[in-house]
Amino acid sequence: MTDPTGKRPRSIWTRRFHQLGSPPFFYNLVGKILPWVGTLCALCFAVGLYSGLILAPTDYQQGESYRIIYIHVPAAWMSMFVYLILAISGGIGLIWRMKLAQAIARASAPIGAAYTFLALLTGSLWGKPMWGTWWIWDARLTSELVLLFLYLGYMALQSAIDDRRTAARAGAVLALVGVVNLPIIHFSVEWWSTLHQGPTVTKFDKPSIATSMLIPLLLMAIAFQLHYLVALFARVRTEILDSERRSAWVTKMLVPS
């Protein structure tokens, strides 16, 4: 069955998906849900910080210094998660030339760089009292530093190339090549000997962390995920507005005449 225009009839889900991918629709949708996600994020941080800094017990080996875990581990997880999003949305933008995917990739990079920076900084502040050094060139720390350089390289590429579509394509290739670094980061503590401790939560066995310490950690992980959404939404709206500044819908929205 074909319609008169010769196109295949599209299901409601295909139409929904295409609608979501249209910049004006996404711009308005995100603008509406941003305050709600922001409120939820603030609540999660409040509960997570309270339970992590006040309710959770002191560690019998590391004393109070272990409390850095509640920001260090979520930041490190997010540094890798956001990179995955950067590579996937970059890939989608590369293959299907989807403008929204390109905007999401471009907007994600600085946020991911911020998480990576925080993971390195808080790790350093935790390493000094526990290992006796701010930094060592071992596999875990070095591969996380490489991740930061991948983000910074991506951002430099975006600002160096004026044409958005060329920049998106070049960035996507860089992001996809860099994906090889993610398993290296994750397994580095098992493949090479290191000062860094092995995985305590993300493994197939039961997590080797007390439940009273695990719950605040998971709360903080959710709070960081929500923070990524808030920061991404704020950034991607600016991206869309900037790249669509000459479109009719932007003019109509700003100056309804």
Binding site: R67, I71, P110, A114, L125, W126, L241, R245
Partner: protein
């Protein structure tokens, strides 16, 4: 913080600062851009009328 205050609080302080900036800066940039584009659109409207 059991003698570790010098390490724990800077870590938390830096995190709060960076996470706040990651939200506040793009929101501010968005407001600036909206105002800028509004101005351009209004100028274009005016030049069309005259």
């Amino acid at each position: 913080m059991g003698g570790y205050a010098l390490f724990v609080w800077p870590a938390y302080g830096a995190t709060v600062l960076v996470l706040s900036l990651a939200v506040v800066l793009p929101l501010r940039r968005h407001r600036q851009l909206t105002r800028e584009l509004e101005m351009i659109a209004m100028q274009r409207n005016r030049s069309q009328i005259t």
